[in-house]
């Protein structure tokens, strides 16, 4: 069995993003880039399934500009067997990403595709679901527990009402939530090993995908600011302040 993992590079979660003064975008020059945290969790889960003997091969894939290679090497250093880089300098939208991943599925025939539930740059939370719909296969989104038995997976999902468990036939798409696992750290020797692992590049244009980038971003703005309020010195003052505001 083979697992395909979506592995997007995003602005690091610790960066406090700034909107450009002219509202044309956000400042990304010189900003630290890392793997989307949910995708690290996706890769970790795939590696654990390999360690359990459920899969033999883990393939990481990214869609992004030429300099994403170092990012994919990190995925290989973490333990993926192979990497696929779909090269495009355009910032593609989820529908295009899903169509691209579907092409990779046709080529690779994985039994499980694991993606992060959302990328922390555009926060869309769409690609996995779109992929499952286009592929006409099950989806198990927001996973906090995955158990693979034979031709099905039992997945516990973090939903608003609590924890939902569903069973999906394979092949299927799984998207990860934060509590699925804690990704391992990359060790130095693994970085050396990763250099010789196969990394295939595919030009996005060569895939002949109809673009799904239908949305046009017209302007960016910083969010409405909340400002610092008052400090009170004890519980009694806090209660008084809440009463003044009519909240008690």
């Amino acid at each position: 069995m083979k697992i395909l993992v979506g592995y997007k590079r995003v602005v690091d979660f610790n960066v406090r993003i700034q909107v450009k003064p002219d509202g044309s975008g956000v400042v990304t020059d010189g900003v630290k880039l890392s793997a989307n945290p949910f995708d690290d969790i996706a890769l970790e889960e795939a590696l654990r399934l390999r360690e359990k003997g459920i899969t033999t091969e883990v393939v990481v894939a990214t869609i992004g500009p030429a300099d994403c290679q170092a990012h994919l090497r990190n995925g290989l250093a973490m333990g993926a067997n192979r990497a696929i880089h779909v090269v495009t300098s355009d910032a593609i939208q989820p529908l295009t990403a899903a169509r691209t991943l579907l092409k990779l599925i046709e080529k690779e025939q994985p039994q499980i595709v694991i993606l992060g539930k959302q990328a922390i740059d555009d926060d869309c939370n769409q690609t996995g679901q779109m992929l499952a719909a286009l592929w006409n296969r099950p989806q198990a989104t927001f996973a906090s527990r995955v158990e693979v038995t034979g031709n099905a997976a039992r997945v516990t999902r973090e939903v608003d009402a609590g924890l939902e468990t569903i069973e999906v036939d394979l092949p299927a798409v799984i998207t990860t939530d934060l509590r699925l696992n804690e990704p391992r750290f990359i060790k130095l020797p693994d970085i050396m090993k990763a250099k010789s692992k196969p990394l295939e590049t595919i030009e996005f244009a060569s895939l002949g995908i109809a673009s799904g980038d239908h949305l046009k971003a017209t302007s960016y703005a910083p969010p409405p600011k909340r400002s610092r309020g008052v400090m009170v010195k004890d519980a009694a003052e806090l209660v008084a302040a809440l009463k003044t505001k009519g909240l008690l």
Binding site: G162, T218, S219, P222, P223
Partner: protein
């Protein structure tokens, strides 16, 4: 003609208030019609509730045993089939229900999705948060395509109800439904407390609370205030409380009148979940904690000393 289809969210025969929030968003678009679609094995009670929401033109029901649980793979083809009957917009709440199913509908219709709509400037121009709410982008969707969107429920109050009595119509979708996805169970913590997503008051605890046992003081304070209980990711990760209490970028986005953050440092991922709260109160022993930069009322000190004092003073 602008015709909006809203996907009703419901559980155990009750309509979720997120649906009425979607109606408010839909009204902002000033459409010719707002229809609500209820997929269920027994839709009558939910449909009756939806029909009362002011602004709703019509409620459509699809009854099918396969709809007894909200499985995206089962719901999506039915929603897409109804949407093809002349709807210009399909809206769902940006809750785990809507986030799960809406992108499938968009993909089946071959259109993009606008996630987390916080404002509709017109029928095809929307504002939405990106980068954990650190930037707001205005996006324009093509006018010649169906617009699929999820509504950031914290941005819209629930539409009122009572005066409306929209007609309820049974529809048949005639699409084949997959059997590859099966519901197993929903583990729900039993609680008499208000629901976190719609509560007027929320008391949240963070890592500073220190343990599952200690969290009792957060629950106690919440009960005294008639508040819902929330938590930071750190508190959930540490196992103090279940995951459905997490507030933030990857948890629940809420807008209570009063939010009390206790032993929470104020990471951006947490703050993005409470930006629309009316009044934010922070209690933290570290006077430099970032939560104080946005708190309306701050109190520096040990929560284990302050919370009992606060309960006394209430």
């Amino acid at each position: 003609m602008t015709k909006i289809l809203i996907i009703a969210e419901h559980l155990n025969g009750k309509l979720n208030s997120s649906t009425a929030r979607c109606v408010t968003c839909a009204r902002e678009i000033k459409p010719d019609a707002i229809d609500v679609l209820v997929l269920s094995d027994a839709p009558d009670a939910v449909a009756a509730e939806a029909a009362k929401i002011n602004g709703v033109s019509k409620v459509l029901t699809v009854t099918n045993a396969a709809n007894s649980h909200a499985l995206a793979a089962v719901y999506a083809p039915q929603i897409a089939a109804v949407a093809r009957n002349g709807y210009t917009h399909v809206l769902a709440p940006s809750t785990t229900f809507g986030k799960d199913v809406a992108p499938c509908v968009a993909a089946l219709l071959g259109v993009a999705q606008v996630s987390d709509i916080m404002k509709a400037s017109d029928a095809h121009t929307f504002q939405r948060p990106i980068y954990a709410g650190n930037a707001i982008v205005t996006v324009q969707a093509p006018a010649d395509q169906v617009l699929v969107g999820t509504v950031r429920t914290a941005s819209y109050p629930a539409a009122g109800n009572g005066t409306n009595a929209a007609p309820i119509e049974v529809t048949n979708v005639g699409v084949e439904l997959p059997t590859h996805t099966r519901f197993v169970e929903l583990a729900q913590a039993k609680s008499d407390r208000p629901d976190l997503q719609s509560a007027r008051r929320v008391v949240s605890g963070g890592r500073g609370v220190g343990s599952k046992e200690n969290f009792a003081i957060i629950f106690q304070l919440a009960d005294k205030l008639g508040a819902a209980v929330g938590a930071s990711r750190a508190a959930v990760d540490a196992g103090y409380v279940p995951s459905d209490l997490q507030v933030g970028q990857t948890g629940k986005i809420i807008a209570p009148e009063l939010y009390m953050a206790i032993g929470i440092s104020g990471a951006i991922q947490h703050l993005t979940g409470i930006k629309d709260a009316g009044t934010i109160v922070a209690i933290n022993k570290d006077g430099e904690a970032p939560i104080f930069e946005i708190a309306d009322i701050g109190l520096v000190g040990d929560l284990f000393k302050l919370i009992p004092e606060l309960e006394q003073a209430l």
